[in-house]
């Protein structure tokens, strides 16, 4: 479904502090599977995730989504692909403080302009599915860590994306919550979503729900385990 062909990403191009965060990566992400990118911090797995998730354009190389080449698209269209195809959950949740949980969940749909009633209903449904609908009106900074994560996941799902991307989803969670998170991932997989995560947490890469673990080191793919 998603293919990377010889993708490179340079930061601070042409300056003395130029960094090659990703060097010549070729990778296939299969539809309906759960893939985990592992590797030490600074290995380039997060950058790789941003390239896959269309958050950034590769310096060289190609990214294809269902056969369509995305790497040459201007930001405007890349953003359009991004909001229709991907849902993001971030390491630090990245909820917008001061807004209610419900508002946060609705945000990714704003640029698409769905009718307000339908969007509200859908966001409530997302929250209900994750068991946090009773906190819908609460400002997000007043939620517990687990609730925040659920709201973040609800937000990732509100546009009904085909691919869910999670960056270090369990870094800020304790043991019980990790289990709950894996349950959610299993549900997503059962509903046919493609899930892509980065993690250096053994509880994640070793979980039975994970189909594939890709090890990243020094901007390259080190090994691909089944």
């Amino acid at each position: 479904m998603l293919e990377l062909a010889d993708v490179t990403k340079l930061y601070n191009q042409g300056r003395p502090n130029e960094v090659a965060a990703v060097r010549g990566v070729t990778l296939d992400i299969e539809a309906g599977k759960v893939t985990v990118l592992t590797g030490p911090s600074g290995s380039g797995k997060t950058t790789l995730l941003t390239l896959i998730g269309c958050l950034a354009r590769p310096t060289t190389g190609r990214v294809r989504l269902n056969g369509e080449i995305l790497s040459g698209l201007p930001e405007k269209f890349l953003a359009d692909v991004r909001r229709r195809t991907f849902g993001f959950a971030f390491q630090r949740f990245n909820l917008i403080a001061g807004l209610s949980a419900l508002d946060n969940v609705m945000l990714p749909a704003y640029p698409l302009g769905p009718p307000h009633r339908r969007l509200t209903a859908r966001a409530m449904e997302m929250l209900a599915n994750l068991g946090v609908d009773h906190r819908a009106a609460t400002a997000v900074e007043n939620l517990s860590g687990g609730e925040m994560q659920r709201v973040a996941i609800a937000r990732a799902l509100v546009n009904d994306p085909a691919i869910v991307i999670a960056d270090e989803p369990t870094a800020n969670l304790d043991g019980a919550l990790v289990g709950q998170f894996l349950d959610i991932v299993a549900t997503l997989k059962a509903r046919g979503k493609t899930v892509l995560m980065t993690s250096h947490d053994g509880r994640i890469s070793g979980a039975p729900v994970v189909d594939r673990v890709v090890a990243v080191a020094d901007g390259r793919i080190a090994e691909a385990a089944a």
């Binding site: 191009q13 354009r57 310096t59 040459g72 698209l73 201007p74 930001e75």
Partner: protein
């Protein structure tokens, strides 16, 4: 210079607009040298980012120009009280040699900026920004115009002095004198109205053809170009009709030929109802035709024809509004110029 709030506002708008366009054209220069959408290099990404700013800035300048054009004429009319011999905007504009050139430059700026916005809008619909180079070349062409416009406006306002003797519409738009204005006024009412009616019919017909989705592509293209030409024709014919016939109906006076007095409060600001649709219709028609002069990029296969069609339809609607206002003026007027 006369310290007068509208003048201060107009000078401010001219300077802001000119500054922004000058800045944008510097950027256009850089962009034309380096634009390569296929590249993922940081410099290319930075260029793409900056195009957002340029588009926003140009839309802002355009909105400002429309406002400034209206304000300019409105103010010229109001300031007539300060000049000996001036009765309406004509007198104020005549009070300095830069008056009418400044007005023409402002009108040219309006049309140029609207064409640019059309190009910008269409460009943003193509996944490979196919019109970018065209758009920025156009911007470079507009930039000198913006400079000239700001220069003329400034020169005009600096040149205005309250004790200037000026001549007004009565002497300018008089059929038996020389000059374009007199030529326009010397048209007899019937042929002027016939001319504008013919122009409107032509623009309407070509516009409807260009706006209908069911014709073959080649025909649509020709219709669009014809509509663009017809729009310019309507613009010219409408100015003649206003000077030589419509204004007479508004004033109900057989020898008052002024195209500016109809903007006055005494006549219910009816001039604005005539000019706004006229300018809009011409700009939209010309914009649609401009799109059709370009080779059709693959990524705009669908979007460009539909936008060009939409522009043609909108142009026809604006002209229809103009025609309705003009007809209402003739209908309600107590003056009988033709037949009787």
């Amino acid at each position: 210079m006369i310290l007068h709030p509208p003048i201060l506002a107009l000078v401010l708008a001219s300077l802001i607009g000119c500054g922004l366009i000058a800045w944008a054209s510097l950027f256009a220069w850089r962009l034309l040298a380096r634009w390569d959408l296929a590249s993922g290099a940081e410099s290319q990404i930075a260029l793409e980012r900056r195009t957002y700013l340029v588009s926003t800035v140009m839309a802002f300048v355009m909105a400002m120009q429309i406002g400034a054009l209206v304000l300019f004429v409105f103010n010229a009319d109001r300031m007539a009280a300060m000049f000996v011999g001036a009765m309406c905007a004509v007198g104020t504009l005549n009070a300095s040699v830069y008056g009418f050139p400044a007005l023409y430059a402002k009108m040219a700026m309006f049309f140029a900026a609207s064409l640019w916005l059309v190009a910008d809008h269409v460009d943003g619909r193509g996944r490979d920004y196919p019109l970018t180079r065209f758009k920025y070349r156009l911007l470079l062409a507009i930039a000198p115009l913006a400079l000239v416009e700001a220069g003329l406006s400034l020169a005009y306002f600096l040149d205005l002095k309250a004790d200037t003797l000026t001549s007004c519409c009565g002497s300018l738009f008089t059929p038996n004198k020389d000059g374009i204005a007199a030529e326009m006024a010397s048209f007899d009412a019937a042929s002027a109205l016939g001319l504008i009616a013919a122009a409107l019919l032509l623009a309407g017909g070509t516009g409807l053809a260009a706006g209908s989705g069911r014709l073959p592509t080649g025909v649509l293209r020709v219709a669009s170009l014809a509509h663009g030409a017809a729009s310019l024709f309507v613009f010219g014919a409408a100015l003649i009709a206003i000077v030589s016939a419509l204004s007479l109906y508004v004033y109900e006076h057989p020898h008052h030929h002024c195209p500016f007095c109809i903007l006055k409060r005494e006549y219910g600001y009816v001039g604005f109802a005539l000019y706004l649709p006229l300018f809009a219709g011409t700009a939209l028609g010309a914009g649609g035709a401009m799109l059709r002069t370009l080779p059709l990029p693959a990524s705009l296969n669908v979007a460009l024809p539909s936008i060009a069609g939409g522009l043609a339809r909108a142009s026809v609607a604006a002209f229809a509004l103009f025609a309705a206002v003009a007809a209402a003026i003739v209908w309600r007027s107590g003056l009988i110029l033709i037949g009787g």
